[in-house]
Subunit: 209 residues, 2 copies
DNA sequence: GTCTATATAATGATAGAC
DNA sequence: GTCTATCATTATATAGAC
């Protein structure tokens, strides 16, 4: 449920900043541009958020709350379905998230860590009851799995171009992408152990050197 | 082979810009900061590159050449080993590449497309001679495969933090990561078809609606 | 090719009225 | 809470000497 001030200028500013930061990155966006999109004067940003950096932190916190399922559900990531929901979030939030992961805010880092923790638990549970392959290094696998889960978020424009669609997040494109990903995750890509064996041989060679 | 002017101020400026753009992003980096790192005056950047934007394009072209294996080997991406070599490129080049993919320069887009084309060829060949699993949608699989290949490039700081290493690209961390990735690509992650079947059932439901 | 010095514009932040 | 007006700073780009 939304708090009442989400209808005021403060929230409009925050949402405008969210959009612009996501589209262009923090440094490129000017205070004036945010104010113009929000339909307020530039001075109002300072009044509500102190500085441009304060506004960024408000955006980080807001997006982090959204992904986690609202301010009242701090542990919502424990439900793996929540992760999929995140990738289906509104486009501005997705774009902002992608930038935040690359630009390295504290909230983005904490969110990444929480997702890895939740994923590791999900994969470990699955390994125990046989639905998931055992891993040589479960922690690293969980981390890699999360980067693969998030990759479409970051490469969305490139994927859209290569696949010949307008938006990688429209229903048809999402289905193509996730179907391929699930297939790769289930069947693997390499049909036999030759690549794995070659890797292990190379690793042994490296250790000897 | 390097051209002779790679030893002059022009190349020093370009390399300094490459580092700073990769570390901080284009908009945040000032012409003065680049000049300071290159040990030249700010005015020299304008003399050689016209503008900051011109300098960026020079960086894009240079990195694109490096990844492709030098200006004389425009088709080097056809060799899949070149892709792995790219990920082992010097840290400044990697960081720059990650930013370029997100910020969407023309050269980065062309490079991504070329990598997908080369990968699709590699996977198709493998499918024909049985080393690679057949795919329901080969083009989409190639695109997804490339985003997974590039994911560690983009999420490097997060991976380093989660794995507890200083640099995700030091030899030990690289080995952990790629071993996990190869394992996942060979064995898959899900042990039976339950996730795939659930996906197909949900897709059928969606089409009906 | 490289520098010093400067023109010109845009930016983040703030003071003070309403 | 919101505005207008403005300040101080910093940015890119360029002119002109060496």
């Amino acid at each position: 449920m939304r708090s009442v001030d989400d209808l005021t200028g403060r929230a409009r500013i925050r949402d405008a900043a969210l959009e612009l930061f996501g589209e262009q990155g923090f440094a490129r966006v000017t205070v004036r541009a945010i104010a113009a999109r929000a339909g307020v004067s530039p001075a109002l940003l300072g009044h509500h958020f102190g500085s441009k950096e304060g506004l960024r932190q408000a955006c980080d916190a807001h997006v982090s709350d959204l992904v986690r399922g609202g301010p009242d559900a701090a542990t919502a990531l424990d439900d793996p379905r929540r992760l999929a929901a995140m990738l289906e979030a509104a486009a501005p939030v997705r774009r902002y998230l992608a930038r935040a992961f690359l630009e390295g805010s504290d909230d983005a880092a904490a969110l990444f860590d929480d997702i890895v923790t939740a994923t590791a638990g999900f994969l470990d549970d699955g390994t125990r009851d046989g639905r998931v392959q055992p891993a040589d290094d479960p922690q690293t696998r969980a981390a890699v799995y999360v980067t693969w889960l998030l990759a479409p978020l970051v490469f969305d424009t490139h994927l859209a171009r290569v696949l010949g669609v307008d938006d990688i997040h429209d229903p048809a494109a999402t289905m193509r992408l996730s179907r391929s990903a699930v297939e790769m995750m289930t069947r693997g890509v390499f049909r036999d152990d030759s690549v794995l064996d070659a890797w292990d041989a190379a690793a042994k060679e490296t250790r000897r050197a």
